[in-house]
């Protein structure tokens, strides 16, 4: 153990909350609405937690002991049935511990894990749109598949793994505003002009070496072993190479992207008629799954679920294996408002989701719960939905894809909650209603005669 090697006092300090609480991660990136007068709340629940959630035992909680520097006030920490706190500061200048309740994200995590679905990566842009109904039914890939979950990459392998990584040191250009881009150019890119020229010179040297080897091979001469030195590349050669690059968008992007470690972008659809004559347009579709919508700010699983697949069947004790996973109740956060062209928004396990796409039951205009607020329903309207998949978008938000629950699965789920009666309830009622004879009861309650040999089956049968 690592703590063995240090002194007892040091080990105690290392295990303490003061040192084990990690620093807060940056909050979710703001969108374009941050620059406008749009309404928002500063106290809303963020789309992912930035602080660690800590908890304590009930006995310690009664004493206000959360393992922190000072006991926390009992009035505000003992009422909740879920002891979860987030510590914004262990100690402040006012000599208080800054804490708030963390049940919002803590319970959301529990609810999400109850769904039992893996988190999938977005499908690579293979021509088909991600949101089209045809692409929805394609098998999804877990974010933990070893070929796309690359985190610890040595610098030499960065270039080879560009289509499989999700973490890049450079920005995703398609997600920047013009102002941010200009600032980035001035601050980050312009000072590295010299380094880029050196980078290009090594590339030229390597190309020259390959060309020399090729020509030697063609002539049948002996192969040169000494590679070309990057220092020996002249400035004229470099300028010629730069001129060549400027007329080849894809190569230029490759070189710049490799140098700055840019996140891949899906190339724009170009109108070839507007291009200068002589310029070469040969744009390549990146096969990175995050090229179209940008790489995620967190790990693509967001730490919410470590499941690899949902390809298993659920079994029911009476009805046997089920075709679909058990449906869940989705809260109708906002009913559909056709006048304002607003779709219905649902809430599943604490995440906001939209109704399924395409020609589904929930998209038929009706007087269902998706079209109205019914104040007579205690706790708000809820509809049964089946969770198909979940993936994390580039801003760290969890996008849950829902499908309509089939009538049968809905009935089975309702029966489990005691809200509906079907075959299982009937059988149970029948079993209960069956008259029991006195011998049955005697059999049930009689103690087995273990003391005699007959009880073990050895005695003489009479």
């Amino acid at each position: 153990m690592a703590t063995r090697s240090v002194s007892p006092g040091g080990a105690l300090l290392r295990a303490s909350r003061m040192f084990s609480l990690p620093n807060a991660i940056p909050p979710p990136p703001g969108d374009a609405a941050a620059g406008t007068n749009h309404t928002r709340s500063d106290t809303m629940t963020l789309s992912f937690p930035t602080h660690q959630v800590i908890t304590t035992l009930n006995s310690s909680r009664k004493a206000g002991d959360w393992g922190l520097k000072r006991p926390l006030p009992l009035k505000s920490t003992t009422k909740s049935s879920n002891p979860m706190l987030r510590i914004k500061a262990i100690d402040t200048i006012e000599q208080i511990t800054d804490f708030t309740s963390a049940t919002d994200h803590g319970i959301t995590l529990r609810k999400f894990q109850e769904l039992g679905i893996p988190i999938t990566a977005r499908r690579p842009a293979d021509g088909s749109k991600d949101s089209s109904p045809a692409a929805l039914n394609l098998p999804q890939k877990s974010v933990f598949e070893s070929d796309i979950d690359k985190t610890d990459i040595p610098p030499k392998q960065r270039v080879d793994t560009v289509d499989r990584r999700w973490k890049f040191t450079g920005p995703w250009l398609a997600g920047m505003t013009q102002g941010e881009f200009d600032k980035w150019l001035v601050k980050e890119v312009r000072p590295r002009r010299r380094a880029f020229r050196r980078f290009l010179k090594t590339k030229i040297a390597k190309d020259m070496h390959t060309a020399a080897m090729q020509s030697a091979l063609d002539k049948g001469e002996q192969l040169q072993a000494d590679p070309v030195d990057a220092e020996s590349v002249t400035d004229d050669q470099l300028i010629d190479y730069l001129r060549m690059l400027r007329h080849n968008n894809q190569d230029l992007y490759d070189m710049v992207g490799r140098f700055l470690d840019l996140a891949p972008i899906r190339p724009p659809s170009l109108d070839t008629s507007s291009l200068q004559p002589g310029s070469k347009v040969d744009l390549r579709e990146p096969s990175n799954p995050y090229a179209e919508h940008g790489p995620p700010v967190t790990h693509p699983s967001a730490g919410l679920s470590y499941l690899r697949t949902s390809m298993y069947m659920e079994n029911h004790p009476i009805y046997g294996p089920q075709k679909d996973h058990a449906p869940v109740q989705a809260r109708v956060l906002t009913p559909r408002r056709p006048a304002q062209a607003r779709p219905a928004m649902l809430g599943v396990a604490g995440f906001v989701a939209t109704t399924p796409l395409g020609d589904t039951v929930s998209n038929i205009r009706s007087t269902s719960l998706l079209d109205k607020v019914d104040p007579s329903i205690v706790g708000g309207g809820k509809v049964w939905m089946r969770v198909q998949k979940a993936s994390v978008d580039s801003e760290g938000r969890m996008v849950v894809t829902l499908l309509d629950a089939s009538l049968e699965s809905k009935l089975v789920a309702q029966e489990l909650l005691g809200e509906a009666a079907c075959l299982g309830v009937q059988r149970a009622a029948e079993a209960r209603a069956k008259p029991e004879s006195a011998t049955d009861i005697r059999k049930r309650y009689s103690a087995p005669t273990m003391s005699s040999a007959k009880g073990y089956g050895f005695g003489p049968s009479e």
Partner: protein, 227 residues
């Protein structure tokens, strides 16, 4: 009610009045109770005088009487709605209820956001009703120079009040350099006669009028304009 107001609009108007009245009469603890006691008939065949819809009709006509006298044509239209296409009034009532509840929930949910019970509370929802000062400098975000955009009346209109005054940086959220540039662009536009000094640009007013629903725009022949 003006004589030009459409029937459906009037219905909605008087319905809200009715529900408030009922709530006060019952004096229950929550306004929800008023909505709960709306008589809703599920059987469409039983639309007789003794059905709960009769009381609804009575309430409706009472509400309409407060505004103006019903013409026989309007009356017959309403009777037809009551008896023939039975669900219309009920649908309107449901829609009005939903609208009034939606006014209490101004937050526009976006896919992937996390909500906890506190986000659905009235305190949290009221925060989504008031506009806040921008968090970031929009000029820096977009990388534009306001002085180059003095001819852009749409941009200029964003940064002046409806009375034509330049908005304070507390409202615009611009940093001092950009606020000065923006103010200069506005002054330049007004000084050159490119932008009115008292209100928004006529083109903006024309577009905002076009985007409004037909009923909200007073027609040229309405009584209000003839005064």
């Amino acid at each position: 009610m003006s004589c030009r107001q459409s029937l459906t609009a009037a219905l909605r108007q008087c319905q809200s009045g009715v529900s408030q009245q009922q709530w006060r009469a019952l004096s229950t603890s929550a306004p929800v109770a008023a909505v709960r006691h709306i008589p809703v008939s599920t059987n469409r065949a039983k639309r007789t005088r003794s059905s709960p819809n009769e009381s609804l009709l009575g309430l409706l006509t009472e509400g309409l009487d407060r505004g103006s006298q019903l013409t026989p044509q309007q009356e017959s239209e309403m009777m037809e709605q009551q008896n023939g296409r039975g669900g219309v009034v009920r649908d309107l009532r449901i829609s009005a209820t939903t609208d009034s509840y939606m006014k209490q929930m101004p937050r526009r949910w976006r896919t992937g956001e996390v909500y906890a019970p506190k986000d659905l509370s009235a305190t949290e929802m009221s925060k989504w009703r008031t506009a806040r000062k921008p968090k970031q400098d929009i000029v820096d975000m977009l990388g534009i120079n306001p002085l180059d955009n003095y001819r852009n009346f749409s941009l200029v209109s964003e940064f002046i009040t409806p009375m034509g005054r330049i908005k304070h940086s507390l409202e615009t959220g611009l940093r001092p350099v950009n606020q000065r540039k923006m103010a200069k662009a506005i002054r330049r536009a007004i000084g050159m006669g490119l932008h009115p000094s008292v209100h928004r640009h006529p083109e903006i007013m024309r577009f905002s009028k076009a985007s409004l629903p037909q009923s909200a725009v007073p027609s040229a022949s309405s009584q209000q304009n003839r005064l």
